[in-house]
């Protein structure tokens, strides 16, 4: 029943990780757009440096977050303090299956009642899991474009495959289709972010308080 946000739901390490993700996304998007087209002069070196730096930060943060998922415990329930391994709250579980379709219907205004969910509803779980391959795709396509790694056969294979889809030629010419895929990946991540920000704030701003400031809300001793 609880609408509370407890520190057991989102431990400090996750708050730091969330901040890191936010910064990385902002810097990667802005520097990436600048590299795509330098709308004003003067910052190409800076933009490329920024892009490279935050790419590593984002990747390392992803790894750290996944490791934490398997090692840290978080609260089992929304507003709860009793904990279990985080990954069980994060990954979709068999028990979530019956919630998925009703949740979708709720958000399509086909159903009045929101099914009871855990800390995350089942739709949310799918969306969060999707960010992992999206970030990996962004990283893979990025490495395929980056001078020092673009000739590694692991990345070259992807470049060639993408170029074939787009009738795009081989060798250097194949980099452009890959660049386009990299660019689209950014839009996919941005689209996720839009939805995420929207849903996180549509019922109020308590989620922001816990995720950004680690402030509990709605609990007995708030």
């Amino acid at each position: 029943m609880s609408h509370a946000y407890t520190r057991e739901m989102h431990p400090l390490a996750f708050v730091v990780s969330h901040w890191t993700n936010l910064c990385a996304m902002v810097f990667l998007t802005l520097s990436g757009l600048y590299i795509h087209y330098p709308i004003f002069p003067g910052f190409m070196g800076a933009a490329r440096g920024t892009h490279n730096f935050w790419m590593f930060v984002l990747l390392i943060n992803l790894v750290v977050r996944l490791v934490m998922g398997f090692t840290l415990k978080t609260s089992k329930l929304a507003g709860g303090r009793e904990k279990e391994l985080d990954i069980k709250n994060f990954l979709p579980q068999a028990e979530n299956r019956h919630q998925l379709w009703p949740t979708i219907k709720y958000y399509l205004f086909l159903k009045k009642e929101h099914p009871l969910g855990g800390k995350y509803n089942s739709l949310q779980k799918f969306a969060y899991v999707l960010t992992v391959p999206l970030i990996l795709l962004a990283a893979y396509t990025g490495f395929a474009l980056w001078g020092p790694t673009s000739q590694w056969s692991f990345f070259l294979a992807g470049t060639t495959m993408v170029a074939n889809w787009f009738n795009g030629g081989v060798g250097g010419a194949a980099l452009m289709p890959m660049r386009i895929v990299h660019y689209w990946t950014m839009w996919a991540i941005l689209s996720f972010t839009f939805i995420h920000v929207y849903l996180a704030n549509i019922y109020g701003f308590d989620a922001d308080r816990i995720m950004f400031a680690w402030k509990e809300t709605g609990t007995d001793h708030a």
Binding site: P38, M44, K76, Y106, G117, G172, A173, Y198
Partner: protein, 391 residues
């Protein structure tokens, strides 16, 4: 030997080439072939002895060409085209410069290849024209495909010069009315196994032909097979086509500093800033143009103030156009240039649609009174409930 040396020096001198120029040329060939400085005397003596001995049989065949590659070859220096065709190769067929004409010219072509089976070199310029059963290009009263069908299996190797010969070039660009293709693609269709060395760009840079001539003929790398190891998966010499123009561009410093040309004729253009914002294809084009340059190292595209258009790329017209834009249009599959969509527009459209949908959704949420009313959550986890852990 001494006499031969003098004769060779005289031949060079007659064309205004000094001994020093000649050694310099051998040095640049060595660099291009990835050979050490110590190979310079070997190259020099190989060229010299070639000049005094039996010439290497060669034919230069024009497919669906604009003759620009022949023209480009005529711009070569150290050695100039006359040295190549008179002192190194016996260029028994080269439509644009040969003295013979008509049936006697065709006879020279067939005789050269048939009398030197497995030994002659064929240089092929222009697209392979398959349209109308090869009638898109007629030579000597026949579809010109006949020349490749008859002679390609009998030559030692084909050097495909220029983007047209490599993959069809602009002629193959959509809609490819005349069904053009490249030499290696055509040979693959016909099951002809003759090795093809691909030298793209439009036109070909003559320095690359000269480098291949030295490599293949004078250093004997075709017979030894060493040449094939120097080619990439597309049959291009790795040392010439291994790095991007961007990597070697003299304007690269301006790129890193963020100093760009945003308008032709601007003060930035006058200062020689980076042409990236004008759609330069240097970052995705692999040739050594910035190092070798063009017309006897006089200049090259970027130095003259023009963005690279990527003419050394496969499928370069469809891949590079719009040449003054950062990204080409995307068409999945066969790719007609009339169809397709701009990737930037597509990306922004997806983002915009998502944002708009969320806006509409928020209105719906407000209308149904859900805004600000957080749904209830479970007070016990499902599996706990099942296990009877209900509090």
């Amino acid at each position: 030997m001494a006499y031969e040396d003098r004769a060779f020096a005289e031949q060079l001198a007659a064309r205004g080439v000094t001994r020093r120029d000649f050694v310099k040329f051998c040095g640049s060939v060595a660099a291009m072939l990835g050979l050490s400085e110590s190979m310079v005397p070997t190259i020099a003596s190989a060229v010299e002895s070639a000049a005094g001995s039996k010439l290497y049989p060669a034919v230069w065949v024009n497919g669906g060409a604009c003759t620009g590659c022949t023209e480009s070859m005529a711009q070569a220096t150290y050695p100039d085209v006359a040295t190549v065709v008179l002192d190194i190769l016996s260029m028994n067929y080269m439509e644009t410069v040969m003295m013979a004409m008509g049936a006697d010219a065709e006879k020279a072509l067939y005789d050269t290849v048939n009398n030197n089976e497995g030994k002659a070199i064929m240089i092929y310029e222009g697209s392979v024209m398959k349209g109308w059963d090869g009638n898109a290009l007629r030579v000597a009263g026949e579809p010109s495909l006949k020349i490749l069908d008859d002679l390609a299996p009998k030559v030692a190797a084909i050097i495909a010069v220029g983007s047209c010969a490599v993959d069809g070039g602009w002629v193959k660009a959509g809609p490819n009315t005349a069904d053009a293709t490249g030499v290696s693609m055509y040979l693959a269709e016909k099951g002809i196994k003759t090795p093809v060395i691909n030298l793209p760009t439009c036109p070909v840079n003559p320095e690359w032909i000269v480098a291949m001539v030295v490599d293949v003929l004078l250093l004997g790398e075709l017979e030894s097979g060493a040449i094939l190891g120097k080619l990439d998966a597309q049959g291009r010499p790795k040392l010439i086509f291994g790095q991007t123009i961007h990597d070697n561009c003299p304007r690269r410093g301006h790129f890193e500093n963020g100093e760009f040309v945003y308008q032709f004729g601007s003060p930035e253009e006058a200062k020689g800033y980076c042409l990236y914002a004008m759609g330069c294809k240097g970052p995705q084009t692999q040739t050594n143009c910035p190092i070798v340059r063009w017309n006897n190292q006089t200049s090259w595209c970027v130095e003259s103030g023009s963005p690279c258009i990527g003419c050394g790329n496969f499928n370069w017209v469809d891949n590079g156009a719009p040449f003054l834009g950062r990204m080409r249009k995307v068409a999945i599959g066969s790719g007609s240039h009339n169809g397709g969509f701009a990737p930037g527009v597509a990306g922004a459209a997806v983002g915009g649609v998502v944002a708009a949908a969320l806006g509409v959704h928020a209105i719906g949420m407000a209308a149904t009174g859900r805004l600000g009313n957080m749904p209830d959550t479970e007070d016990v986890k499902e599996h706990d409930r099942k296990k009877g852990g209900d509090k």
